[in-house]
Protein backbone atom coordinates (compact mmCIF):
# COMPACT_ATOMS: atom_id res chain seq x y z
CA UNK A 1 0.00 0.00 0.00
CA UNK A 2 1.27 3.46 -0.90
CA UNK A 3 0.68 6.52 1.23
CA UNK A 4 -0.76 9.03 -1.20
CA UNK A 5 -1.10 11.87 1.28
CA UNK A 6 -2.07 12.82 4.79
CA UNK A 7 -2.88 16.16 6.28
CA UNK A 8 -4.15 17.63 9.52
CA UNK A 9 -5.83 20.92 10.29
CA UNK A 10 -3.19 23.37 11.59
CA UNK A 11 -5.20 24.02 14.75
CA UNK A 12 -5.08 20.32 15.61
CA UNK A 13 -1.38 19.78 15.21
CA UNK A 14 -0.02 17.85 18.16
CA UNK A 15 -3.44 16.57 19.19
CA UNK A 16 -2.88 13.01 18.07
CA UNK A 17 -4.83 13.29 14.83
CA UNK A 18 -1.92 12.17 12.67
CA UNK A 19 -1.29 9.19 14.89
CA UNK A 20 -4.93 8.22 14.76
CA UNK A 21 -4.92 8.39 10.97
CA UNK A 22 -1.72 6.38 10.77
CA UNK A 23 -3.24 3.79 13.06
CA UNK A 24 -6.12 3.50 10.62
CA UNK A 25 -3.60 2.94 7.85
CA UNK A 26 -1.86 0.23 9.82
CA UNK A 27 -5.17 -1.47 10.55
CA UNK A 28 -6.08 -1.32 6.88
CA UNK A 29 -2.75 -2.94 6.03
CA UNK A 30 -3.51 -5.77 8.46
CA UNK A 31 -7.07 -6.20 7.26
CA UNK A 32 -6.30 -6.29 3.55
CA UNK A 33 -3.13 -8.31 4.15
CA UNK A 34 -0.61 -6.19 2.33
CA UNK A 35 3.15 -6.58 2.60
CA UNK A 36 3.56 -3.13 4.03
CA UNK A 37 3.20 0.58 3.61
CA UNK A 38 5.41 2.65 1.36
CA UNK A 39 5.46 6.41 1.23
CA UNK A 40 7.53 9.34 0.15
CA UNK A 41 8.23 11.45 3.19
CA UNK A 42 8.75 15.15 2.61
CA UNK A 43 11.60 16.28 4.85
CA UNK A 44 9.91 19.41 6.08
CA UNK A 45 12.90 20.96 7.79
CA UNK A 46 15.50 20.49 5.11
CA UNK A 47 15.11 23.89 3.46
CA UNK A 48 16.34 25.58 6.63
CA UNK A 49 19.69 23.79 6.63
CA UNK A 50 20.20 23.00 2.96
CA UNK A 51 23.02 25.54 2.78
CA UNK A 52 24.89 23.52 5.41
CA UNK A 53 24.26 19.88 4.63
CA UNK A 54 23.24 17.67 1.76
CA UNK A 55 19.89 15.93 1.84
CA UNK A 56 21.70 12.63 2.40
CA UNK A 57 23.46 13.94 5.49
CA UNK A 58 20.26 15.53 6.74
CA UNK A 59 18.41 12.22 6.51
CA UNK A 60 21.29 10.36 8.15
CA UNK A 61 21.16 12.88 10.99
CA UNK A 62 17.41 12.38 11.38
CA UNK A 63 17.83 8.61 11.42
CA UNK A 64 20.56 8.94 14.06
CA UNK A 65 18.41 11.27 16.13
CA UNK A 66 20.78 14.21 15.74
CA UNK A 67 18.10 16.25 13.99
CA UNK A 68 14.34 16.37 14.37
CA UNK A 69 12.25 16.56 11.22
CA UNK A 70 8.56 17.37 11.56
CA UNK A 71 7.61 14.54 9.22
CA UNK A 72 10.38 11.99 8.98
CA UNK A 73 11.27 11.82 12.68
CA UNK A 74 7.70 11.03 13.57
CA UNK A 75 7.38 8.43 10.85
CA UNK A 76 10.55 6.68 12.00
CA UNK A 77 9.18 6.69 15.52
CA UNK A 78 6.12 4.86 14.22
CA UNK A 79 8.18 2.07 12.73
CA UNK A 80 8.95 3.24 9.22
CA UNK A 81 12.45 2.63 7.85
CA UNK A 82 14.23 4.76 5.30
CA UNK A 83 14.88 3.05 1.96
CA UNK A 84 16.35 5.75 -0.23
CA UNK A 85 16.12 9.38 -1.22
CA UNK A 86 14.09 10.50 -4.22
CA UNK A 87 15.29 13.65 -5.97
CA UNK A 88 12.55 15.80 -7.50
CA UNK A 89 9.93 13.67 -5.78
CA UNK A 90 7.31 16.40 -5.94
CA UNK A 91 7.09 20.17 -5.79
CA UNK A 92 7.60 21.12 -2.17
CA UNK A 93 9.38 24.20 -0.90
CA UNK A 94 10.13 22.80 2.55
CA UNK A 95 11.90 19.67 1.38
CA UNK A 96 13.33 21.37 -1.72
CA UNK A 97 11.49 18.67 -3.65
CA UNK A 98 13.28 15.82 -1.92
CA UNK A 99 11.30 12.79 -0.94
CA UNK A 100 12.47 10.00 1.29
CA UNK A 101 11.12 6.58 0.46
CA UNK A 102 10.05 4.96 3.71
CA UNK A 103 8.74 1.47 4.33
CA UNK A 104 6.80 -0.10 7.14
CA UNK A 105 6.61 -3.87 6.88
CA UNK A 106 3.38 -5.46 8.02
CA UNK A 107 4.29 -7.97 10.73
CA UNK A 108 0.96 -9.71 10.20
CA UNK A 109 1.36 -10.16 6.46
CA UNK A 110 0.50 -13.71 5.46
CA UNK A 111 1.82 -14.59 2.00
CA UNK A 112 -0.33 -17.72 1.95
CA UNK A 113 -3.42 -15.53 1.82
CA UNK A 114 -4.36 -13.38 -1.10
CA UNK A 115 -4.81 -9.73 -0.37
CA UNK A 116 -8.38 -9.05 0.61
CA UNK A 117 -10.01 -6.71 -1.84
CA UNK A 118 -12.99 -5.53 0.10
CA UNK A 119 -13.51 -5.17 3.79
CA UNK A 120 -16.77 -5.66 5.52
CA UNK A 121 -19.02 -2.78 6.52
CA UNK A 122 -18.54 -3.77 10.15
CA UNK A 123 -14.90 -2.79 9.89
CA UNK A 124 -15.86 0.63 8.62
CA UNK A 125 -18.26 0.98 11.51
CA UNK A 126 -15.53 0.26 14.02
CA UNK A 127 -15.49 3.91 14.96
CA UNK A 128 -13.00 5.45 17.29
CA UNK A 129 -9.43 4.67 16.53
CA UNK A 130 -7.18 7.00 18.36
CA UNK A 131 -6.90 9.87 20.72
CA UNK A 132 -3.38 9.83 21.95
CA UNK A 133 -0.79 12.50 21.82
CA UNK A 134 1.60 12.65 18.95
CA UNK A 135 2.51 13.26 15.48
CA UNK A 136 1.85 13.02 11.83
CA UNK A 137 2.02 10.10 9.61
CA UNK A 138 3.17 8.62 6.44
CA UNK A 139 2.28 9.57 3.01
CA UNK A 140 2.64 12.76 1.16
CA UNK A 141 2.04 14.80 4.27
CA UNK A 142 1.27 18.48 4.19
CA UNK A 143 1.30 20.15 7.57
CA UNK A 144 1.67 16.57 7.96
CA UNK A 145 3.37 15.11 4.95
CA UNK A 146 4.00 11.77 3.14
Amino acid sequence: MYGVESFVHPDYQGAGVGSALLKARFETAHKVNVVGLVAGSLIAGYHAVAHEVSAEVYVQDVIAGRRFDLNLSKQLRKGFKVRNLIPEYTEDARSLNWGVAILWENPEYDPSKAAINKMTPSYFEAGRIGNRAASHHAGHNAVAGC
Partner: protein, 104 residues
Protein backbone atom coordinates in the same frame (compact mmCIF):
# COMPACT_ATOMS: atom_id res chain seq x y z
CA UNK B 1 -12.18 13.20 32.90
CA UNK B 2 -11.55 14.22 29.34
CA UNK B 3 -7.88 14.44 28.48
CA UNK B 4 -6.71 17.66 26.97
CA UNK B 5 -3.60 18.36 24.97
CA UNK B 6 -2.37 21.88 24.38
CA UNK B 7 -1.93 22.68 20.72
CA UNK B 8 -1.47 26.03 19.00
CA UNK B 9 -2.51 27.93 22.10
CA UNK B 10 -5.74 26.01 22.39
CA UNK B 11 -6.87 22.99 24.27
CA UNK B 12 -8.37 20.18 22.29
CA UNK B 13 -10.59 17.48 23.65
CA UNK B 14 -8.75 14.61 22.04
CA UNK B 15 -11.38 12.12 23.16
CA UNK B 16 -13.70 13.78 20.70
CA UNK B 17 -11.59 12.87 17.69
CA UNK B 18 -12.86 9.97 15.64
CA UNK B 19 -11.44 8.40 12.52
CA UNK B 20 -14.03 7.41 9.95
CA UNK B 21 -14.05 6.30 6.33
CA UNK B 22 -13.54 9.34 4.12
CA UNK B 23 -16.43 9.75 1.76
CA UNK B 24 -16.41 11.97 -1.29
CA UNK B 25 -19.60 13.59 0.04
CA UNK B 26 -17.25 15.48 2.37
CA UNK B 27 -15.00 16.53 -0.50
CA UNK B 28 -15.69 20.25 -0.14
CA UNK B 29 -14.58 20.13 3.49
CA UNK B 30 -11.60 18.00 2.57
CA UNK B 31 -10.61 20.47 -0.11
CA UNK B 32 -10.79 23.34 2.38
CA UNK B 33 -8.76 21.34 4.85
CA UNK B 34 -6.10 20.61 2.22
CA UNK B 35 -5.94 24.31 1.41
CA UNK B 36 -5.21 25.12 5.04
CA UNK B 37 -2.81 22.28 5.60
CA UNK B 38 -0.75 22.79 2.45
CA UNK B 39 -1.10 26.58 2.57
CA UNK B 40 -2.22 26.87 -1.04
CA UNK B 41 -4.70 29.16 -2.77
CA UNK B 42 -8.39 28.22 -3.12
CA UNK B 43 -7.86 27.93 -6.87
CA UNK B 44 -5.00 25.49 -6.49
CA UNK B 45 -6.89 23.51 -3.87
CA UNK B 46 -9.91 23.27 -6.16
CA UNK B 47 -7.72 21.98 -8.96
CA UNK B 48 -5.87 19.35 -6.93
CA UNK B 49 -8.47 18.20 -4.41
CA UNK B 50 -11.57 17.95 -6.53
CA UNK B 51 -14.69 15.94 -5.78
CA UNK B 52 -13.84 13.87 -8.82
CA UNK B 53 -10.48 12.95 -7.34
CA UNK B 54 -11.92 11.98 -3.95
CA UNK B 55 -14.58 9.92 -5.69
CA UNK B 56 -11.96 8.15 -7.79
CA UNK B 57 -9.95 7.30 -4.69
CA UNK B 58 -13.02 5.92 -2.98
CA UNK B 59 -13.97 3.85 -5.97
CA UNK B 60 -10.48 2.49 -6.44
CA UNK B 61 -9.59 1.66 -2.85
CA UNK B 62 -12.23 2.68 -0.30
CA UNK B 63 -10.45 0.81 2.48
CA UNK B 64 -7.53 3.20 2.26
CA UNK B 65 -9.44 6.48 2.65
CA UNK B 66 -9.86 7.89 6.15
CA UNK B 67 -10.76 11.19 7.72
CA UNK B 68 -10.57 12.47 11.27
CA UNK B 69 -13.58 14.30 12.64
CA UNK B 70 -13.91 16.40 15.75
CA UNK B 71 -17.24 15.15 17.02
CA UNK B 72 -17.79 18.24 19.16
CA UNK B 73 -17.95 20.42 16.05
CA UNK B 74 -18.52 17.89 13.29
CA UNK B 75 -15.56 19.39 11.44
CA UNK B 76 -13.23 17.29 9.33
CA UNK B 77 -9.76 17.90 10.79
CA UNK B 78 -7.60 15.29 9.14
CA UNK B 79 -7.36 13.06 6.12
CA UNK B 80 -5.25 10.22 4.84
CA UNK B 81 -5.31 8.37 1.56
CA UNK B 82 -3.64 5.15 0.53
CA UNK B 83 -3.64 3.14 -2.64
CA UNK B 84 -2.73 -0.35 -3.64
CA UNK B 85 0.81 -0.51 -4.85
CA UNK B 86 3.01 -3.33 -6.06
CA UNK B 87 6.57 -2.83 -5.01
CA UNK B 88 9.81 -4.72 -4.70
CA UNK B 89 10.99 -4.65 -1.12
CA UNK B 90 14.58 -4.95 -2.31
CA UNK B 91 14.54 -2.22 -4.92
CA UNK B 92 14.66 1.52 -4.36
CA UNK B 93 11.57 3.60 -4.92
CA UNK B 94 12.56 6.40 -7.25
CA UNK B 95 9.41 7.48 -9.01
CA UNK B 96 7.90 10.88 -8.44
CA UNK B 97 4.73 11.26 -6.41
CA UNK B 98 2.88 12.37 -9.52
CA UNK B 99 3.92 9.34 -11.53
CA UNK B 100 3.23 6.87 -8.74
CA UNK B 101 -0.21 8.24 -7.94
CA UNK B 102 -1.25 9.36 -11.40
CA UNK B 103 -1.41 12.93 -10.07
CA UNK B 104 -3.35 11.92 -7.00
Amino acid sequence: MIAQIHSNHESRHTDSIRVLPATHERSVELQQLAMLAYEVSPQLAARYWSTKMFRARNETFPEGQWMAVDTTTGKVIGYTSGMRFDFDRNAPLLETWERTTGYG
